[in-house]
């Protein structure tokens, strides 16, 4: 690891100020992604500002404002605490399942909610500093495009980058239309709708999100919904547990009188950001929740997939995963 200075921030304002003075400084939350990448020499900050003791951990119902009736989750709270909070388990079981599908017990005890959203891709070429990678070193090319790209994207990629975004939690947040609250150096708060938080690679794969340097994630807000009884997070991976998703699907339905009045489907492991399956969603609204309709929706979404040399299997896998996740959701989220 390269040398860096370490400071513990005293409050959120001091933390944000400290970062904005140094373009090479980074926040340290749980450290589970940042330290790993620093050991690999992928991340090279010369200053770490430890934000792990700043508070901002509460999970609470929102009484006023546009998200009234929803909940707010502290940006510095731990993944374990979010997954096990009574409000989240009761009203947003999809989110609890997605968090619990990620990493391991130890890592979830360390990982924070804000840090989870900002974890970087697991593309092996990104991790290996001797390989070309436009995300790590803009302009050097993409090792995966013509390389071993079994785990890479089938939607939204460009020649510049074909990496997928790894977080499970974020896939559920995308389906639940979360809003991210951030604070900048002038003390201003702004909110970013989840769909605008992460970016597709375009010409700038090095930029994962639309967060500016020094902006601190203070909270994640979830609007009220009627999905709790009919939702499921399905994660398909190479081994039964403790691995990143090949494909994952967050599925949530609202059913009234046997008809789907709202459908939310987001996919992980298929694109540079959580992939909202909008075509599939549109097809389901107003229909009955039958296997035939689930299949139609999955076909419609996956028709747009553009697989690479080694990941053609993800098209069929994604198709079946959408159907299965919807079936599980109808089953009350039970396996």
């Amino acid at each position: 690891m390269r040398p860096f200075t370490y400071t513990r921030a005293k409050d959120p304002t001091a933390a944000v100020n400290q970062l904005s003075g140094n373009p090479n400084a980074k926040f340290l939350a749980g450290g589970t992604n940042l330290l790993d990448l620093m050991k690999e020499d992928v991340e090279r900050p010369n200053e770490l500002v430890d934000i792990s003791e700043l508070g901002l951990r509460d999970i609470k119902a929102i009484a006023n404002g546009p998200q009234k009736g929803g909940i707010s989750i502290g940006g510095l709270g731990k993944n374990t605490d979010a997954a096990n909070h009574a409000l989240i388990r009761q009203h947003y079981p999809l989110l609890a399942q997605a968090i619990l599908a990620g990493a391991s017990g130890q890592i979830r005890n360390m990982a924070t909610n804000g840090g989870n959203l900002l974890q970087r891709t697991r593309c092996p070429y990104f991790y290996e500093v001797s390989m070309p990678c436009n995300k790590r070193e803009p302009g050097t090319g993409c090792g995966a495009l013509e390389g071993i790209n079994r785990t890479h994207a089938i939607f939204g990629w460009t020649e510049k980058c074909v990496a997928v975004y790894p977080s499970d939690m974020a896939i559920a947040l995308a389906a639940l239309d979360a809003v991210v609250s951030v604070r900048n150096a002038s003390g201003q708060e702004r909110t970013i709708p989840f769909a605008d938080f992460h970016r597709l690679p375009g010409d700038k794969p090095e930029q994962d999100t639309n967060l500016a340097h020094g902006e601190l994630i203070t909270a994640i807000e979830l609007p009220k919904n009627n999905f709790a009884a009919t939702s499921y997070y399905l994660k398909v991976r190479d081994r039964a547990s403790y691995a990143f998703a090949l494909v994952s699907v967050a599925a949530a339905l609202e059913i009234v009188d046997n008809k789907i009045v709202q459908a939310r489907i987001a996919m992980g492991g298929v694109a540079h950001k959580p992939w909202r399956a909008l075509k599939a969603e549109q097809l389901l609204v107003g229909k009955e929740a039958t296997d035939a309709n689930f299949k139609l929706a999955a076909d419609a979404e996956m028709a747009g997939a553009k697989p690479l040399d080694h990941n053609r299997f993800k098209v069929e896998l994604g198709n079946r995963s959408i159907v299965l996740a919807l079936q599980m959701a109808m089953n009350g989220g039970k396996a």
Partner: protein
């Protein structure tokens, strides 16, 4: 005289060990200093058990740190030194650490608590699992500097004097290890898991996720999922699960093996 800090040279002890073990490769190693690192890695990896048992020199070599690291370092010699005070297994420790130092390296190299193991050093194996403020975490991805004021419990802190922790006793009864490398991390994880179940924590395989958190009785499948962050290369898993099930349920679980007569 050799210089212990010259990374390219083998020490006399190391040469002797090498000659014992792989005489045909000695010349090459002596010629190309770079291989020394590989050699040392090889010895340390294979080390703990097999080699040490074979050679008295190896034993000496492996039980002392490979490079000289005085326990007390002054802040002047440490790059970006950070003062940190933490409570390890009940004793308060005040140290100056390099900002880059992980909790794992601090425990092993500065506090001489070598129970916690370094397997992957990247969060993937769980061998370095310890309890911080009562929760299981990975010490290889924790900066020591970030532990100010925290309580750390390692495998060395589980037993009460000579009385083993019930989980340690159960691991022994059920033969929950072979080489023992992953065992300290498995034990810390298992001890934490019992608490997590008491507190009603859910896992990905928990069915009634919407139910209000209440103490849970864990199936073997649940235990496996919850222990998945701890990898055992010898594959002692069934016995580990049996040991955890026994402590968790409070009922004896039948041993699946017998000692030979």
């Amino acid at each position: 005289m050799h210089d212990e800090n010259d990374p390219s040279r083998l020490t006399e002890d190391e040469k002797k060990l090498f000659e014992d073990l792989m005489p045909e490769d000695l010349d090459e190693i002596l010629d190309s200093g770079v291989n020394r690192r590989h050699f040392l890695k090889l010895v340390t990896l294979a080390g703990g058990g097999m080699l040490a048992a074979q050679s008295a020199v190896a034993e000496q070599l492996l039980t002392k740190p490979l490079s000289s690291s005085p326990t007390e370092l002054s802040s002047a010699t440490i790059e970006n030194g950070v003062t940190v005070s933490l409570k390890v297994n009940g004793t308060t420790q005040k140290l100056v650490v390099d900002s880059r130092m992980t909790l794992l390296d601090t425990l092993r190299e500065r506090l001489e608590l070598t129970g916690s193991k370094k397997g992957c050093d990247h969060g993937q194996c769980g061998a370095c699992t310890v309890l911080v403020n009562g929760q299981r975490v990975l010490s290889c991805l924790t900066l020591a500097a970030s532990c100010e004021g925290k309580r750390v419990q390692t495998v060395e802190g589980l037993a009460q004097g000579t009385t083993l922790h019930p989980m340690q006793a159960a691991f022994l009864k059920h033969d929950g290890f072979q080489c023992g490398f992953c065992t300290p991390g498995q034990l810390c994880s298992a001890v934490a898991l019992i608490e997590e179940a008491k507190n009603g924590h859910a896992s990905y395989v928990t069915e009634a996720i919407r139910k209000q958190p209440a103490p849970v009785q864990l199936s073997n499948e649940e235990i496996r999922e919850r222990m998945s962050g701890n990898i055992c290369r010898c594959g002692a898993y069934p016995n580990i699960v049996a040991a955890i099930q026994e402590v968790h349920s409070g009922k004896p679980v039948e041993q699946t093996f017998n000692f030979s007569a």
